[in-house]
Every structure is written in C-alpha cells, then in structure tokens.
C-alpha cells in the first residue's frame, strides 16, 4: 500500500526531523560536533520507559518532567566539558576535532552507565498501541501522537527562532560568530543555551521513539548517524532544511523497508548520505561556499 508507506514514512520522518533539529542547533550554533547525541536520545528513551513502567507516569507527562532535566543536563555538559575546549580552541583553532574526541569519550560513558542500569536487552512498553485510520492507512495511535508532538515542538522552536529577539540572537551567532559580539551578543552564553536546547530536542526525540519502537543501549550510534545524515542533507545549521530532509529520510526508509527489505534501511540511509556528499556537499538547500 503506497498510502500506508507514505503516511507511516512521514510519521517516522517527523521524529527524525526533530532530532536532526537538535543536532543542527548544537553543531550550527555551539560548533560542537556531538557524537554522543544518539546516546542522549536513548538515555531519555530509557528514562521515559522507567517513568512509565515503574511509576505509571505516561510519556506525555514524562516529557514535561524530562525536558527541563535534559536542558539542565545539556547546560552542565557544555559548561563542564565543552567550555574548556572552546577556550583552548581560541589559540589552537581545532574545536571541531577536540569536540569530536571529547564527545566520543562521552558516548562510551553514557552507554556504560546505561548498561549498568538497564542491561543490554531490547526494551519497549505498551502505550496507546491501537490502530487509527488515517487516509485509508492504519497507523498506531502512539506513532501519530509522536508525530503530533514533533510538529508541535518543531513548530514552536521554528517560530521562536524566527520571530523573537532571542531567536534572532541565536541565528546571529550561527551566521557570524565573530561579528556577534560587536552588537552586544554574549556568544559563549548563546552557545551554551543552544547546546542545552539541542539536548532538550534529543530528549523529546528519545521519549517519542520509546513510545513506538523497541530500543537497546547500543542503538545510539544509529540515531546519531541518521540525525547527522539529515543535518548534512538539509545543510549544516539550517532548521527548515533539517525538517524537509528528516521527512524525506523517513519516507525513504519506510519505502525501503516495505518494498525491498527491512534489513537494508541503514544501507539506504548511507546511500543517500553518499549521494548528497558527492552531488551537493553543502546540503540540498545550502549554497555552495566554494
């Protein structure tokens, strides 16, 4: 059924777009290439699972509880780990390499902590697992809810970034980090804020994923990769690009899983990644800088 594939692809793509937005905030504004991003997603997926199965708190209420926590976590990680690197890079100029290495270490720390607490089994829980008819296609209600949340959070974020003074500050840092201090913007504070905001988006992505999918401790790499592919497809730091590319990736994955083989979805992701790199390295919507 093509309609089923299209609808469920768009629904899946909503989550991808959301997590890619978080990563594009972290990389585009804080200039931190965060390889532990997927681990953060999985961590909050487990947190939502824990809240639901141990305390009976449903994922929506869990989301309200977890988002401030995620913001604080991101704020702390940036302050403790990234700030020294940023300061050091003012001299050496290799923040990119340093942040990649540091977050690669962080990846193993978060994964190790999760292994100790949750073990390496596949985990899932049952929440709103009933079929809903959408345009003739049957979709689980939890997926639909996740999509609605993704649209809501992504929409609020987009409006905040484009319509408010505060959002303009963030975009100014993304466009010209050297010139932003000239108009009185505290780049360091903005970067820290954007990093924490990105972590918050990762957490909301994690909660959504936990609602409709089984997950394991070692799955983080896959989500980091998917988010990165979407970010690069949409152009680094480009929120709208991330949105369109995320939906596109969701569609492609669902079509590959439906018509070719579910085991080849990651290969399809990579194929897209390769062709984007070869054809338009600046992203589908980016302008070539060379």
């Amino acid at each position: 059924m093509p309609t089923t594939a299209i609808v469920s692809g768009l629904v899946l793509g909503g989550t991808y777009a959301l997590i890619a937005m978080g990563l594009t905030l972290q990389y585009g504004i804080s200039r931190i290439m965060n390889l532990a991003y997927g681990e953060t997603i999985i961590f909050f997926a487990f947190a939502a699972f824990l809240l639901y199965s141990a305390f009976g708190i449903n994922p929506i209420a869990g989301l309200v509880l977890l988002l401030p926590l995620a913001f604080a976590f991101g704020y702390l990680v940036y302050g403790v780990m990234m700030q020294p690197l940023v300061r050091r890079s003012a001299r050496s100029g290799n923040l990119e390499v340093d942040s990649i290495l540091a977050t690669f270490g962080l990846l193993f720390v978060i994964q190790g902590v999760m292994l100790v607490f949750f073990g390496s089994n596949y985990t899932s829980y049952n929440y709103l697992n009933v079929g809903v008819n959408v345009l003739g296609a049957t979709i689980a209600a939890n997926r639909l809810l996740a999509f609605g949340l993704a649209v809501l959070i992504g929409g609020v974020l987009y409006l905040a970034l484009t319509r408010t003074r505060w959002g303009t500050t963030i975009r100014a840092v993304a466009v010209a980090p050297q010139s932003a201090p000239l108009v009185g913007i505290d780049v360091n504070r903005t970067a820290r804020f954007a990093f924490a905001l990105g972590t918050m988006l990762a957490a909301s992505g994690g909660v959504m994923i936990s609602m409709y999918q089984t997950f394991t401790v070692s799955m983080g790499v896959i989500f980091t990769m998917k988010a990165l592919v979407v970010v690069i497809m949409g152009g680094l730091g480009n929120l709208l690009g991330a949105l369109v590319a995320g939906l596109l990736l969701g569609l492609v994955e669902t079509f590959v899983a439906t018509y070719i083989d579910p085991g080849l979805t990651l290969a399809a992701t990579y194929l897209i990644f390769l062709s984007v790199l070869l054809w338009r390295p600046a992203g589908l919507f980016g302008k070539a800088t060379r």
Binding site: M33, L35, M81, P84, L85, S92, N94, E96, V97, D98, I100, L101, A102, F104, G105, L106, L107, F108, V109, I110, Q111, G112, V113, L115, V116, V221, I222, T224, M225, L228, I232, D261, G263, L264, L266, A267, Y270, F273, L274, L277, L278, P281
Partner: protein, 319 residues
C-alpha cells in the same frame, strides 16, 4: 652512516628478542603478547593517516572486521597466504570508495562517515548472511598457532612502523605535514591534497584490514557482532592519542601500557569497563591532546629554558 647501521642492527636485535619471547611464556602470555602487538599495529596504522592530517578516523573496526570476516568466509576454499591477499584487496577497495567520497570535503564529513561505517558494514554483512547464506556465525578452522599469529603481527607492526619512518622522511611525508598545518597553503604550493590523503588513508586501512585477517584464526567462531565491535575503534584511537599520533613511536608507547590496563580492567571491572574507558579518554583529550611524547618534550624544553635563565649572565657572554 654508522649511526644508521647501528640503528638497523639495534632494531633487528629488538625484533629478534620480541620474536623469541613467546617461547618463554605459556598460552596466556602468548595471548597477551599477541593482543598487544595487534593493538600496537592498529594504533600505528591509524596514526599513519590520522596523525599528520588530523582527520580522525573512527572506522578502524570496519576494516578490522572486513579482514576477519574475509578470512572466515574463505578459510576453507583458499590457501592461507592467498586469503590474506584477498582480505587486503577488499580492505583497499572499501578504503578507496570511502576516501574518494569524503576526503575531498571538509574533515568533519570524513569523521561522520567513518563513524557510521562500521555499523553499516555490520548490518550489511548480517543481512547478507541471514538472507543469502542462511547462517549468521561462521567457524574458522585453520591450523595456525598463537605463536604463528604473533610472529605475523610482529612482522606487520615492524613494517608499519618502518613505513611510518619512511613516510616521515619522504616527499609525501613533507606534503602531509603541510596539509596538516594548513590546507590552503598546501594547495598553493602545488600539493594534490586529495590524492595524498587518499593514498595514505588506503595504506593505513589496508594494514588495519590485515591485522583483522591475521587475528581471525584466534576466534574459531566469528559473528558480525564480535568482529565489528566498536570498542576496537575506540581503543585504537585512545592508544594513538595517549602516545601522540604525530610521533613515530607515539602509538607504540600508548598501546603497550593501555592494553595492559584494559586487560586488567576488563578482568576486574567487566560491568564498568566502558565508563572507565570513556572517562580516561576524555581525560586524555583534556590533559594532553598532543600525547605523552609531546608533553614530555615540552617539559624538557621548559626545564632547559629555566636552566639557561638561571645560569649567570657571564657564561652567556663567554659563549
């Protein structure tokens, strides 16, 4: 000339001593030596490319796994030396594809691509095994003892470090140093950046593939999740960084103590292994991003400067 000759004699002697070592240890000692030599080779091969260019490759285990899996697939159909050749060729081809696609672009694309490469290859192999051949695991029955594996790895390590030494003195090494310092300058003095990077990445990846292929008979049973274990990439990286990826002997210096530490950790703290690893790695990135050797050198030069300043002015005038 005499110095070079002495150095050659010294290294030949050291190699001979290392090759003789396994006769003195039991099976456990040989296993330890073998693993250590494997990681020395991996870290040295990694540093061959990533050290001078500062392109962090996270795909070590992708190539390692390709090597091991090629041996597993072909172990019953081809003679052993031929299998190694085929494995090296497969590794080389994958390296060329990855390199051609990503090395022309900014470094971050390369890192991202290599980051997911191991996972991609693992899933592809799993898919192929499940859907085409119908089995997931494979057995390797090759009549190769631990000592023989160790000797092969030792030879490969010697070749890798020798290659590093040769590259450091050759034209391509000079070109690499320029690229590492400033790509724009490198392009302006007429260095074909992409070609130099690609060549070196291919060499480094081929060596890593061979390490995987040589170590494969140790396992007897091989499965994608065993040979594509991301910890291998991580360990290689941390070893090379600790020693100093820009120094010829740096990776070796980092690999030996860290390998022993990891052995001890995995025996005593199996559950908290990756947390300790991650924290250690972050500490290394923070405290000595250039590695131990660079830090020691800087320390020495600081001591030397202080000593010179402390000397009375008269001695300087006399000089």
């Amino acid at each position: 000339m005499v110095r070079a000759l002495l150095a050659v004699i010294f290294f030949a002697g050291a190699l001979a001593a290392l090759a003789w070592l396994p006769t003195q240890f039991g099976a456990y000692g040989v296993g330890l030596l073998l693993g250590m030599t494997g990681y020395v080779t991996l870290a040295s091969a990694w540093a061959l490319f990533s050290g001078p260019t500062r392109y962090v490759s996270l795909a070590t285990v992708a190539f390692f796994g390709i090597g091991a899996y090629t041996v597993a697939v072909l172990s019953e159909t081809l003679p052993y030396p031929l299998i190694l050749l085929v494995a090296a060729a497969v590794g080389l081809c994958v390296a060329l594809v990855v390199g051609l696609a990503t090395l022309r672009l900014a470094g971050v694309y390369f890192v991202i691509f290599t980051f997911g490469l191991a996972e991609l290859i693992r899933q592809l192999v799993t898919w192929y095994e499940v859907n085409i051949t119908g089995t997931l695991g494979r057995y390797i029955f090759l009549p190769i003892s631990g000592e023989q594996i160790y000797w092969q790895l030792l030879a490969l390590a010697a070749v890798t470090i020798g290659l590093g030494w040769w590259i450091g003195r050759s034209r391509i090494g000079l070109a690499l140093k320029v690229i590492g310092d400033d790509e724009v300058v490198a392009a302006h003095v007429g260095i074909n950046i992409a070609r130099v990077k690609l060549a070196l990445f291919a060499v480094s990846a081929t060596i890593i593939t061979l390490v995987g292929a040589i170590q494969a008979p140790r396992w007897t049973y091989v499965e994608p999740s065993i040979v594509f274990n991301p910890t291998i990439s991580f360990l290689t990286l941390i070893m090379a960084l600790l020693g100093g990826a820009n120094r010829l002997w740096g990776p070796l210096l980092g690999a030996v103590p860290l390998f022993l530490l990891f052995e001890w950790l995995s025996a005593n703290f199996p559950n908290h292994y990756s947390i300790i690893l991650g924290l250690l790695f972050i500490a290394i990135v923070f405290v000595m991003p250039q590695g131990v050797l660079a830090m020691v050198e800087r320390g020495w030069s600081r001591v030397g400067q202080r000593g010179r300043k402390a000397e009375p002015a008269g001695t300087e005038a006399a000089q």
